[in-house]
């Protein structure tokens, strides 16, 4: 660190907050501009009806990367560990299956399958661990590597070869690029167990279990488990966003909400500040965008400031979301057949088998919503009673697949889809429809509008191999710096992608701080 610079971060989502805090701690003067009226993005309290809230778009969290938690002293900033929860896959016939990090229970589940699940999770978590050097650093360039890139590759090689051992490494190389369907069929018999695992590989992506790279998306999801068990976020004391805001503020970051960035000011091919939609301009030495790549380059910068093919390649990245988010206000706690109140606090899945998921995805391929969707259900008010009036509850549902571009148009279809989902849940929780006092459906188009994410995509862009690592979002902008001097990416559009991890924000900050003269 030679001199203190002024830096602007666009977007106070968790990655923006993480990045800004690192930069401010290093002595820079950092200001975050957030378009919404609250910081936190997808992890902030969201009101969907009078007196009814959810804790965020993200309704199940894994802990943030522990290195980030420690370095930013988030515990000191008030972060509290959430209560660990399991996943319960709901069976048609009341056969509910409970999946923990290492164990699985269900009526009639074979001893072999239970053992296979344990071994599978252990093996795959070790793959996810082996990828950590790659995850926590800027992805190495293939041309003109610097020392850091060589070190990252060396660490990755060591972790893969000696961390995993020869047999595991061979297996990892075999399955790394293939699909979760084939892998699970090799080792597990129980269809419901396979469905529950595969759901984690496809939800949030434009992929069915048979789509290549679903092993990679599964490993991405599994990364969170290295850091600890999943939990339901709360909007109350100790929540993640509050801790991030506290840490940022303590480090000297200034957070401006209701401050929508209209464009990034470019002077002589260098980013020199931002202009808000109010017309007001703010100048800075650097601009760091937590927005997705399309919004950053084609929206804020504009194609005329970019090389033609670069702009075209950004434009052709796949960023259409596939998940709808639904929120229901309930008069009382719903009654799911065969589930106790404690079990209702877990993450519930409707993903009966892999064939079901593949069929659900088929619709998305043709611009239709799933006739029988994949559902991830939580009851957030059980973890945080402040989200609903006393005695009332809220239910939060992520529903796949709901393609961004719906053939029939979402205007006409969203309420039909919402009704379809409630009817599906009704099979498992008879009488729930009558308890609904208010509801909301956020299609990917709504998420795009309300949360300023192009395509409403969970990950700011598909996590396919061609959009991962040194190609995320595209090569030429994959190391957090961009062709525009003084402009950086720090969000999910950058490596290693989405999820509530804080890693892109961490990596971007490290990259900015390591660059000579900050550039």
């Amino acid at each position: 660190m030679t001199e203190s610079k002024t830096m602007i971060v666009i977007g106070a989502g968790h990655n923006g907050l993480v990045c800004a805090t690192y930069l401010a701690k290093a002595g820079h003067k950092v200001k975050i501009f957030e378009a919404r009226s609250t910081a936190g993005g997808g992890v902030s309290r969201h009101q969907f009806a009078t007196d009814y809230y959810v804790a965020g778009l993200a309704h199940v969290l894994h802990p943030l990367n522990p290195k980030i938690v420690k370095e930013l002293d988030l515990v000191g900033a008030g972060l509290k560990k959430g209560e660990a929860i399991n996943t319960i896959s709901l069976g048609h016939d009341g056969r509910h299956m409970t999946l923990g990090m290492d164990h699985v229970e269900a009526t009639g589940l074979s001893v072999e399958d239970a053992a296979a699940y344990k071994a599978f999770k252990k093996e795959f978590r070790s793959y996810a661990k082996a990828l950590e050097p790659m995850t926590m650093n800027k992805p190495p360039r293939l041309k003109d590597m610097d020392g850091k890139d060589k070190l990252t590759l060396a660490q990755l090689g060591l972790k893969l070869r000696f961390g995993l051992g020869a047999a595991s490494m061979r297996e990892f190389l075999r399955v790394g690029g293939i699909n979760i369907y084939d892998v699970l069929n090799e080792i597990i018999d129980d269809p419901q167990l396979k469905g529950a695992i595969a759901a984690d590989a496809v939800l949030g992506h434009h992929m069915g279990p048979r789509t290549p790279t679903t092993v990679l998306t599964y490993l991405n999801r599994l990364r969170g488990e290295i850091y600890g068990p999943q939990s339901l976020p709360t909007a109350g004391e100790g929540n993640l966003t509050m801790a991030l805001i506290n840490a940022a503020t303590k480090a000297g970051v200034e957070i401006m909400t209701d401050a929508k960035v209209e464009k990034i000011i470019i002077k002589d091919a260098k980013a020199t500040g931002v202009q808000l939609n109010s017309g007001q301009e703010y100048l800075a030495d650097m601009v760091i965008s937590n927005a997705d790549a399309k919004k950053t380059f084609l929206g804020f910068v504009g194609s005329q400031e970019l090389d033609a093919m670069f702009a075209k390649r950004i434009d052709t990245t796949r960023t259409n979301g596939t998940v709808a988010k639904l929120h229901f206000a309930l008069k009382k706690l719903p009654n799911f057949k065969g589930l106790t109140e404690i079990e209702l606090k877990q993450r519930l899945l409707i993903a009966p088998d892999m064939r079901y998921l593949e069929h659900a995805f088929n619709h998305a391929k043709y611009g239709e919503y799933s006739e029988n969707p994949l559902l991830e259900i939580t009851v957030p008010s059980l973890a945080d009673p402040s989200l609903a009036p006393k005695g009332h509850h809220v239910m939060s549902v992520s529903a796949g697949f709901a393609p961004y571009n719906l053939k029939a148009g979402w205007d006409k279809s969203s309420s039909v889809f919402c009704h379809k989902i409630l009817s599906l849940i009704e099979n498992y929780a008879p009488g729930i429809s009558a308890q609904v006092v208010a509801s909301e459906i956020l299609t990917p188009q709504d998420i795009e509008q309300q949360f300023n994410v192009t395509g409403g995509h969970w990950h700011h862009g598909e996590l396919t191999i061609d959009q991962s690592f040194m190609m995320r979002p595209i090569h030429g902008a994959a190391q957090y710096d961009t062709p525009i001097d003084g402009l950086f990416l720090c969000g999910a559009a950058a490596h290693p992608g989405g999820g509530i991890t804080g890693i892109p924000g961490h990596n971007a900050a490290k990259r900015i701080l390591a660059m000579k003269g900050g550039n």
Binding site: I266, A269, L298, G302, S303, Q304, E305, L306, D307, A308, M309, F310, A311, K312, D315, P483
Partner: protein, 398 residues
């Protein structure tokens, strides 16, 4: 839908009827998919028509695009290396454009047609690159190659011939200027542009009036006033080297068709520094070119005069007799009017400097027996051929 005639592989120009009659050699080639004459009767006669009287060439196959819309200037300025915002209505300018890495994709001309937008002419098909470059801009790009017929009328008497054919107001038309006029009731656009380094015009009409235009020009010959002859591509190739115009695809590999690293060229490596402006809004390749500018130049396409009369086609170049190889001849012509060997040559620079001596090793045959010789070369900064009448306004009346 119109039935396609599969016996007619190449497209016929709207001037074809006349060209077919006058093209005694039936020496056809494909230019941009059009059946085009290389030679009408004798190459030498066609060459001297350009240099001493009035030549007419069908340039309909030239790639043409119409650019309109609110962002037309922004689009063109982002596309090419030159500052297009300075181009006034009724004017034409020479341009090149590059890919992201600052390597030249093609060259051409931009016509400012006033309220009708811009016309971009290019050597090669560019629609896909234009579409890619239009992302995020309110601009319309129309491929109009087939919708406009054009004749290039070039030579010392070109002005006299066109005036005799009935075109008025040509006397005030300056080089790179555009004149909108009429002939026998149909619209004609005339630009004082060309590829010969001499006095000349390009005449643009609706294809429906193509033959009327042709006949009006050739009638001048029938009336016994001036000689007018059609010329083919081979004669044009001779005069364009004399005039020092580069030909993408012949003198250098265009970026789009280059696979191997280092085989494409930047504008600086083509000696086109004068069309690159860093003093304007961002254009594709600017970042790469700005970086290149800070480093010593590695190579340059030069106009090279080769001593002697042996044809140096494809010859290697050396920094001395039996010295280090430093380049090669890309295209060449024996100039009948200058009586010398003129070439375009790609030469490696040594530490950013042009080699002090340049020699060509020339292989040639005498009665099927191969021989070799050395010829001393010299770089010409100016075009080999450029006549003052090229820019004289009004041109002399013959």
């Amino acid at each position: 839908m119109e039935k396609h005639d599969f016996n007619q592989v190449l497209q016929l120009s709207p001037f074809h009827e006349r060209i077919d009659t006058l093209g005694l050699m039936k020496n056809w080639t494909s230019w941009n998919g059009y059946q085009t004459a290389r030679i009408f009767d004798t190459l030498a006669a066609e060459y001297f028509t350009i240099r001493s009287s009035c030549s007419v060439m069908d340039m309909t196959p030239m790639e043409k695009y119409r650019i309109t819309g609110p962002d037309a200037v922004t689009f063109l300025n982002r596309l090419v290396t030159r500052d297009i915002s300075k181009l006034k209505p009724g004017r034409v300018t020479y341009v090149v454009w590059c890919n992201d890495d600052g390597r030249v994709l093609d060259d051409g001309t931009i016509f400012h047609l006033g309220e009708d937008g811009y016309r971009l002419c290019s050597q090669h098909h560019q629609l896909d690159w234009l579409m890619i470059s239009s992302l995020g801009m309110d601009v319309s790009i129309e491929h109009e190659t087939h919708d406009i017929a054009a004749l290039s009328v070039q030579g010392p008497t070109a002005y006299s011939v066109l005036a005799a054919a009935g075109f008025t107001k040509l006397d005030t038309l300056k080089p790179f200027g555009i004149l909108n006029t009429q002939l026998n009731g149909f619209d004609v656009m005339i630009s004082r542009t060309g590829f010969t380094g001499d006095l000349g015009y390009e005449v643009w009409v609706d294809p429906r009036h193509a033959l009327d235009l042709w006949d009006a020009i050739f009638e001048v010959k029938q009336r016994g006033l001036y000689d007018v002859r059609p010329i083919g591509l081979d004669a044009l190739e001779m005069v364009r080297i004399e005039a020092g115009f580069i030909m993408p695809g012949d003198d250098f590999n265009t970026a789009e068709t280059t696979i191997r690293a280092g085989r494409d060229r930047s504008p600086f490596e083509l000696g086109l520094d004068w069309v690159v402006s860093f003093d304007k809004p961002y254009f594709t390749g600017r970042r790469a070119l700005l970086k290149e500018k800070t480093e010593p130049i590695k190579r340059r396409l030069v106009k090279l005069l080769v001593e002697g009369n042996k044809s140096p086609t494809d010859s290697f170049l050396y920094d001395g007799k039996n010295g280090q190889r430093i380049g090669a001849i890309k295209s060449n012509v024996w100039s009948p009017i200058l009586k010398s060997n003129l070439t375009m040559a790609d030469i490696e620079f040594i530490k950013g400097e042009l080699p002090k001596e340049i020699w060509a090793e020339i292989y040639y045959q005498k009665e099927l027996e191969w021989k070799s010789t050395w010829a001393k070369c010299s770089v010409s900064d100016l075009p080999f051929w450029s006549h003052p009448r090229r820019s004289q306004t009004p041109p002399d009346q013959f």
